[in-house]
Subunit: 324 residues, 3 copies
């Protein structure tokens, strides 16, 4: 693996999931791989899970870690080519990426969607500019349209549940549901989860359904062959996994079209499902998107998902280290 920007960079998804599960069982087995190797973690946005779990995974592998908050530890970065740089952005990504690539063996980047210009966000300029100029592997720590380390952790989590619950169907039903929120959020986690679940569905590992209010359709390249059901109750029938997430509209880009509280997940929804497990990438706003009752019940997988971020990062970093 040279970069980890999206699912397209994964040669063998099953193997990567197994590698994550192996790392969880034996975290320090590959400590020699990272000796005298450094990862730079560059944050354009806030982070808790990604920041800590990726540092931890790198240290498990024996790497050194350097973190930097852009615009706080350092100055702002210009992403556009050919401009006269007379704005508040003092450095161009061409230099920043190339320079960090000379200090670090791998670079992780977090850069959220701005939700102003859809074409711009969906071009994934920051990731691509870093990948183009850094000269070293780039790891996506959540970009404008994707969060693949989260999706890998989600796959690991579903796989663990399957392995420990022989009563689950061979192709469990996984439902991605939109949740209400008062702020416009990026589509990255929902996009990425769809992308990865479509791959799992294609391989015969899951059945994948998406449910949301009208107007919240995801981009066609992410919905793929998923079945879209606009009635949440119908979608939840027989679900083995309910994956909740809010996102702003893709078609009316970045807009909040409704905050309809009936879309929040409560125990009534769980009861519609097949003793369904509840998943969310966190942070989650309790009682706005999901009820306390669900989150504090044995149905919730949210902490395990977050814990698995360490192992998804470790699986990815290990695969990259093996190519260095």
């Amino acid at each position: 693996m040279t970069n980890f920007l999206s699912l397209a960079d994964v040669a063998d998804l099953d193997a990567l999931i197994r590698s994550g599960i192996d790392a969880k069982a034996n975290p320090f087995a590959d400590q020699h791989l990272g000796k005298n190797k450094t990862i730079g973690l560059i944050f354009f946005n806030s982070s808790l899970r990604t920041r800590i779990s990726t540092q931890k995974a790198a240290q498990n592998l024996g790497m050194n870690v350097i973190t930097m908050n852009v615009g706080q530890d350092s100055w702002g970065l210009e992403m556009e080519d050919g401009v006269i740089m007379n704005s508040d952005k003092a450095e161009h990504v061409r230099e920043a990426a190339a320079v960090i690539g000379r200090y670090c063996n791998i670079i992780g980047i977090r850069a959220f969607a701005e939700l102003k210009d859809r074409a711009k966000d969906y071009q994934e300029q920051v990731m691509h500019q870093f990948a183009r100029y850094a000269g070293v592997p780039i790891v996506n720590l959540e970009s404008a349209t994707r969060h693949p380390l989260q999706s890998l952790a989600d796959c690991i989590t579903i796989e663990e549940v399957k392995q420990s619950n022989p009563s689950l169907p061979a192709k469990p039903k996984v439902v991605l549901t939109w949740l209400p929120h008062f702020k416009p959020l990026p589509q990255a986690v929902a996009n990425s989860f769809s992308e990865w679940m479509n791959a799992r569905a294609k391989a015969g590992d899951v059945e994948f359904v998406v449910t949301h209010p009208e107007g919240y359709e995801l981009a066609p390249e992410f919905v793929g062959n998923a079945r879209v059901i606009y009635n949440q109750d119908e979608a939840f029938e027989g679900a083995d996994f309910i994956y909740g997430k809010n996102w702003s509209s893709y078609t009316h880009y970045g807009q909040v079209l409704t905050q309809d509280p009936s879309w929040a997940v409560t125990m009534n929804d769980i009861r519609l499902s097949n003793h369904g497990k509840f998943m969310h990438c966190l942070p989650v706003r309790r009682n706005l998107k999901v009820s306390d009752e669900v989150l504090d019940s044995p149905h919730s997988l949210v902490i395990e998902q977050a814990a698995n971020r360490e192992w998804s990062a470790q699986a990815v970093l290990k695969e990259i280290l093996l190519t260095l």
Copy 2:
């Protein structure tokens, strides 16, 4: 030791002080204890000594360290249970604590008093919520009402002075004095110092006196059996240690009742004492709370106290690591 939230978590104070003094003499003797162990240091507030000394202590013990500034590196955290999370706080401590506890073997937390609601501050919600949900040991890096790593460093400092000054009385007189300041500060350091000195007094190791203007009485559970003298000059008579600190009123909660400059410590005060040593937890505002002359004289222990923060943290982390 499972948590280090306050003196109540210390089984054997003498042993802990000795452990700190041993670490100072031989900082790297226990480096095997922390191998492949990670401490997460979570700051809700600014920090210099605590930030650096705790990192250093953990590294002396062979640990990995991950630091995070809440609301700067990550988003704000909701502490109240049962609320609908529609404020600016995007994540609940239930998730944050549980997740960080999955990445880290020990979590250190700094969260100052807000000085608005006394009952709330004195409930120590942040520490208790983290202790409840993290699933791993919690270390208090200064909470709303206590700063036990500072108090342990203070005990180590006093013990060192006793050991190197045979002429000191067996029960030296320790005076905690209020100092003037224009801003309302928490009572945490004064509370904690009182708590620990009362324990030392009970064991026959010191005589403990508190002096402050009327209205600055500390909470009864912290004053304990200390002698309170409202006349500073009288309190300083024969003092072997003068411990200065400003705090805002506990009874008129969070208020500045006076800024009377006569309460600042100068060489005149030292002369009233028994060649008394001056102590302060730092940062200290020079010439507002204490004169340059005192701080730059051999009477001052403030740098040694701060240096001993490394060894108090190391003693605590070692004791916790031994239980993991």
Copy 3:
């Protein structure tokens, strides 16, 4: 080497340059030197290259690294002696430096010029106060008037080009040129580069020329014996290295006297030179100070210069570690 504040702290510049080149060839050869040693990197200002390269260099040498942003991670620091500390600066450098010096074996400090009071900036108060009170070696990570780690990296870069280009003259012509900018910037990089190039010129290693518009004369102690030419085209004739940098006026202190775009470096300027290499310390504002065409051509050394920051830091830290 006890401190690295300026060229005056360098006993043997040739040896230091060679040490940097050796470190680049064999980065981990001296890893034993830094074992159980800690460097504290204290930033009063933003940093990208310095932050990452110095961390990396210290880790190459086996050191632990602790970074701190003053006024963000910690509170502001008072630098003036004898004042009553009733401003927003809660801690005095006397305590901060002494305390950090108790935790760290070496301290790196970045503190830019404020460009308000020339005498104050040129006194280098922050560096000198830290050097006075820390009790451990201080490394200048860019101060009000100098950036010696940059200058050492620049010397390494020029030396590398000389070694790999036998056709270069024995005494290549190095031209420092002022570049246009809309914001007032410190003179530190230009001062430092002049100081180091004057030393190289004195040793017969280079010919050194400075060019800038009238009113941008550097301080006499930094210009030294350099030839100053006010006509940029004339200065560039036969140049082997063109070192670009903007700085605000020293004589009209901190002012922007002109933004004349004809001073920006383009391929026309390169063509005037002797196939000259372009150098800049970065960050650089593209198409304001230098054209894309120059920066993206083989004439540009800017990425190599930045990469060499790691080796200049490693050479300096190694020399300091050898004295501890």
